[in-house]
């Protein structure tokens, strides 16, 4: 196993009454795998993935859990150790590439900078590496683009530069947090195609954080669904889309389908998680919540429903059957 996260919990805000951003999340990624982490905004998906790099948003604290990368425990690394680790073993591709790039430095230099800070390389070698990476991520005319400033690039090209930076030290794992939000449809597909191709070529694993199940269905091998700071469903992609087994997954799916099915939607927006509801965290918004099944009183475990497909829902059987056949591809 390349990455193993166990019982990771992250809190935000005051220590006395914290907001439970991420609650005891466990997941793993094997070598060469492309894993999707999906959820609506506020579900904790980005928080959980950033924690793998020892990063939290402002006011966030990792309060519990373990993150093992190639068997080595990461939580508890010193600042210096983290610095050496980030970017060399795990790369990060963020959204809004123009904000992530330095506007007053040439993009080629920004790629070379990361390479030189982790590897012993001369300036000439780093430049060579930058050009090689530009070619790798599908940029035409790399010599010219090497000397461009971020504002001279289109959104799709800027996103490719971020991918090149993240790949500069050939990390074993690449985390891409909504890498294509804000890009147009045709460009989004091209960038994702290239992202998949390059991770395969360099032999990295890829964690794709997104809210778009279309991306998951098209590019991922396995999927974790997050909701209310928890993993609520995990599965391989085929089994997941054939019969999703959690109301949060159905809600995400019905959003993208030609569906007017009110009965599958969650009510309202995500709640803050300062006081967690009793029972299932989702029950106040869930169309399937039911007193008799214990949704309001008992917190559901991740039920195993066969072949590595697991769902954190007392009513997973009903949920699986609720999906109209027109969604189901099996």
């Amino acid at each position: 196993m390349l990455l193993e996260v166990k019982d990771l919990s992250i809190e935000y805000g005051s220590v006395g009454a914290p907001n439970h951003g991420v609650c005891a999340v466990s997941f793993s990624i094997s070598e060469g795998e492309i894993v999707g982490i999906v959820g609506e905004s506020g579900s904790g998906k980005s928080s959980a993935m950033l924690a793998v790099l020892g990063l939290t948003r402002e006011g966030g604290r990792i309060v519990n859990g373990s993150v093992r990368f190639e068997g080595q425990e990461l939580l508890g690394l010193t600042r210096e150790e983290w610095r050496a680790f980030r970017g060399s073993s795990i790369g990060l591709v963020t959204q809004s590439p123009r904000a992530a790039l330095n506007p007053v430095r040439r993009v080629g230099e920004q790629i070379a900078e990361v390479y030189r800070s982790h590897r012993k390389a001369t300036k000439a070698q780093a430049r060579e590496r930058a050009l090689e990476l530009l070619r790798l991520v599908g940029i035409n005319d790399p010599e010219r683009r090497h000397d461009a400033y971020p504002h001279e690039l289109s959104g799709g090209m800027a996103q490719r530069i971020l991918i090149a930076i993240a790949l500069s030290c050939t990390p074993k794992l690449l985390i891409a947090d909504e890498p294509t939000s804000g890009l147009d449809a045709t460009v989004q597909a091209q960038v994702l195609d290239d992202l998949r191709r390059v991770t395969r070529e360099v032999g990295s694993s890829l964690a794709l954080v997104t809210h778009d199940l279309g991306i998951v269905a098209n590019y991922c091998d396995r999927v974790y669904v997050m909701e209310s700071g928890e993993i609520v469903e995990e599965s391989d992609v085929e089994s997941f889309f054939a019969r999703p087994a959690h109301p949060a997954s159905l809600a995400l799916l019905s959003k993208q389908q030609d569906s007017q099915d009110e009965a599958l939607r969650l009510r309202g927006a995500p709640l803050d998680r300062i006081v967690l509801p009793s029972g299932c965290f989702l029950h106040p918004r869930c169309p399937f919540a039911d007193q008799a099944s214990g949704c309001m009183t008992e917190h559901p475990p991740l039920y195993d429903i066969g072949a590595g497909h697991r769902s954190r829902c007392h009513r997973h059987q009903t949920v699986r059957d609720a999906l109209p056949s027109r969604y189901a591809s099996a």
Binding site: V187, E238, L253
Partner: protein, 346 residues
Amino acid sequence: MQAPSKPILEVRNLVKHFPLRGTSHVVHACEGVSLNVLPGETLGIVGESGSGKTTLGRCILRLIEPTSGEIIFEDVDITKLGRRQLRRLRSDIQIVFQEPLDSFNPQLNIGYQIAEPLLVHRYCNKAEAKRRVGELLGLVGLPEDFENAYPSGVSGGELQRCSIARAIATNPKLIVLDEPTSALPPGTEDEVIAVLRDLQEKLGLSYVFISHDLLLVRSLCRRIAVMYLGQIVELGERDTIFGNPRHPYTRALMASVLFPDPTQRRQAGQRGEQLEGEIPSPIDLPDACYLAGRCPHVRDRCREELQELTEVEPGHWVRCWRSAEGELTYHGPDSLPMERDQGGPS
């Protein structure tokens, strides 16, 4: 399939150029757009950012003055109307913008702002307006006491429903919806779409629905116009556009849709439909096919002459000579990931 009813709106050869100040260059935002909208139908306008779809929507209301062309609404060419006549027209054509927070005054309550068009158009007196506001809020599925709320106090989806209520206040016949759900927080899109569907059914409204979200357009629109660099490159019934697109740009657009279904996975560079690079700048466009620089099917002739929108079968228009002359071989609906299909001819 198309009812032989008379269009409520006809746009003929609409051109909008924005001059670049201090230069002789112009931005070609709309370059000869022609379309019509039938009563009670939803016409989808799709295209990437920079394709001119928003400019088109605004020209239809003359929020932007078109450079040339005709916009005929119920037999009247509105490009020729004076200010007072135009104002009367505005109660018949309305628009809903992308970002509801930007289209409401933060310091006035919602009820006042929904009533404003009623009073401006002398639709009724103040007392009746108050009653009508309650009715309008009911139509978009909101409780009456929303009239006392302020824009900052309600959710994005609710506020967008309020702007729809305001748009329908004067009983318009046509509403231009300019990306009405793109700026909303995730999860609220559904409620807005449900309201739009419901109103269309109840009030018989016609919509021009501008969006970049192909899956949404597919679920909502009966006919679809695809725009690229200020031109309509393909226009037809929804099932034709999705099932048998003939313009290379439409085909690239369709091949880029990521369906939430692993059995319809998109293949990288799907069957030679991918375009080179990204949408170029719309400044000083050549007298040639605008897609020529990116098109996988390009020939010399594409670089030499402007393309005309040609009717290739009844109600299906394509701006590509190779397609119109049957030079591009297509494989029917099965070559696109509409159905479960992995292989297919390449």
